[in-house]
């Protein structure tokens, strides 16, 4: 490192490395601080949360008990959680069921004009979400889908599908052509090629794609609040119900936010290894 004769490039000086490392830590802490603040607040009393920040306080789980206690007539945590879980899981499964064949047709056996098809998929993302809400609301109303899980399942499927197709396509492209050809010659049917070669090899990519779909669907707020304000509401909407016009709510809101974060963080942590491999695998080309 400190060889005086060697030409020194950026990052080779020891103090530069230390400075960069320190800057990275500071940036990381700045980003992490709000999360830490939220988690700490969630264990405080409302009184503690609303005074000037202090580190030593008596931690309590009361806020969690309060936010998860179901009050008659109001959206309960359990209901919102169930809605979210059903909507997220079903929409992600539909996305995968549609995106895997689509990616196959775009990567492994490209259909005629596959470039146009690929562009079409991403072009559906060009429209600002807010610009589409009126027609979508009217459609949902006319089909009697307002305040139903179906409406969000359909929407989240539509929102995540282009991304999933693009991601899976790049993962499928990473599979060497010869492997699929070898399987073809070895007598594997299309189903055999998929189940024994393509899907196992693309598994990390499929896991990464599914996780992103889950995260996007779980966190989506705009459509949910417009279409399902009364019934079929999801966790993000439940979080906002903890904002009240009377009294302090910071600690309660923090507890609710922590609860809303846990499933995504958990899923991310479980899938972490596969996902990083998957994302890296897709990024190489």
């Amino acid at each position: 490192m400190s060889n005086a004769d060697a030409p020194i490039t950026v990052g080779e000086r020891r103090w530069v490395n230390h400075a960069l490392g320190a800057a990275a830590w500071i940036t990381g802490l700045v980003f992490f601080f709000p999360v830490l603040w939220m988690v700490l607040n969630s264990f405080k009393s409302e009184q503690d949360a609303n005074t000037s920040p202090k580190i030593n306080f008596t931690p309590t789980l009361d806020r969690y008990r309060e936010v998860t206690r179901s009050a008659g007539g109001l959206l309960s945590f359990g209901e919102a959680f169930t809605n979210s879980a059903v909507i997220v899981i079903v929409s992600t499964l539909i996305v995968l069921a549609l995106a895997i064949p689509a990616a196959y047709a775009l990567a492994i056996r490209p259909v005629h004009k596959w470039r146009d098809v690929l562009f079409f998929f991403i072009s559906t993302k060009f429209l600002p979400v807010v610009a589409s809400i009126l027609p979508i609301w009217i459609l949902a109303k006319n089909f009697h889908l307002l305040n139903s899980r179906q409406a969000l399942i359909i929407l989240y499927t539509g929102i995540n599908l282009p991304l999933a197709v693009w991601m899976l396509r790049s993962f499928f492209q990473e599979i060497p052509r010869e492997l699929i050809e070898a399987a073809e010659i070895d007598g594997a049917s299309l189903k055999g090629q998929l189940t024994s070669i393509i899907l196992p090899m693309a598994a990390p990519g499929i896991a990464a794609t599914a996780l992103l779909c889950v995260i996007f669907a779980w966190n989506e707020f705009f459509y949910a609040v417009q279409l399902n304000p009364v019934k079929g509401s999801t966790v993000p909407i439940w979080v906002t119900t903890n904002i009240s016009t009377r009294g302090d709510f910071l600690a309660k809101l923090s507890a609710a936010s922590v609860l809303a974060c846990i499933p995504v963080v958990l899923a991310g942590w479980i899938a972490q290894k596969r996902m990083i491999r998957g994302l890296a695998m897709g990024a190489i080309k």
Partner: protein
Amino acid sequence: MTEVRYDQATRTYEGTDIAAVNSLNLDIADGELLVLVGPSGSGKSTALRMLAGLEPLNAGTIYIGDRDVSNVRPRDRDIAMVFQNYALYPQLSVAENMGFALKQQGVPKEERISRVRETARILDLTPYLDRKPKHLSGGQRQRVAMGRAIVRQPAVYLMDEPLSNLDAKLRVQTRTEVVELQHRLGVTTVYVTHDQVEALTMGDRVAVLKDGILQQVDTPGTLYHAPDNVFVAGFIGSPAMNLVDAGDARPLKIGEASLGFDGPAEAAVGNGAGRVTVGFRPEALTVGDGPLRAKIRTVEDLGSEVFVHLALDHQGQNLALVAKMFPPFNGEPGDTIGLQITGTTHLFGEDGSRIATTSATLHSSATLH
């Protein structure tokens, strides 16, 4: 009995006008090892993939046995293929890789295991059956790829440059093993390579392709000693045949020396035959005494033989020739020496096809005039 026949088989890739394989006619006998050889872009791999069913035909027919397989799916052609990069299934063990095709065919598990074990024994793969491909060396992977093909007992083996990823020593050794194995199994095999040495040493017959067109298909000896055209003459043999564009003047000259032939050849290249290319192999050129003066550029002493690279002025151009000599050879780079042709000489016409093969002698121009 499984013959393979290409009948006017043509493949043109989408977006191009030129056929990658153009009206290929080729008969491969039962049990024969036929090598397809050519430079890159010659269509040899495409021809193999057409036989495998991985490339559709734009015209013509391919038969395996008596069956027209032109529109048959790869898996219904009863073929096994060895790929250049082996294409082993990374998530499966060696045994599972080898048994994959049998499993797809619905062969009962007991039989599958015994066939895989038997094949592994032949290929010395028994200790590795439980390993994943990534834990094998290049040579072992190559054998697994061979084993995966052998275990199926197909009608035809297709091999697409299966040795090109091995190091030189292992390649030579494996070459012999593949040939022995093929003879033992007696299964019709089509083998693609860009390496003409591999082609000559392995093939019962060798088909030379260039730009999608079959140039010649013959035994290695015939290809070497009686090439049909300039391309085959230059492609087969290492170092390559000396090819000299002798122009259309008569008598034919190389540098300042005139070429004399026996009667029939003389007539074949007489006035009116147009431009003639003269070809002679390095071993047909003798360095030492002779009417053609040349300068030694480099000397490659391989121990058993010496390749002498020479330069001379030929019709105002710098002409490079190679001579194969037996040691000891005393010439040094920079020396000027005399050359004489002492072996077979081929004469190729304007269109590149061979018009005569003869013995030729170089004469000093002064003695003729």
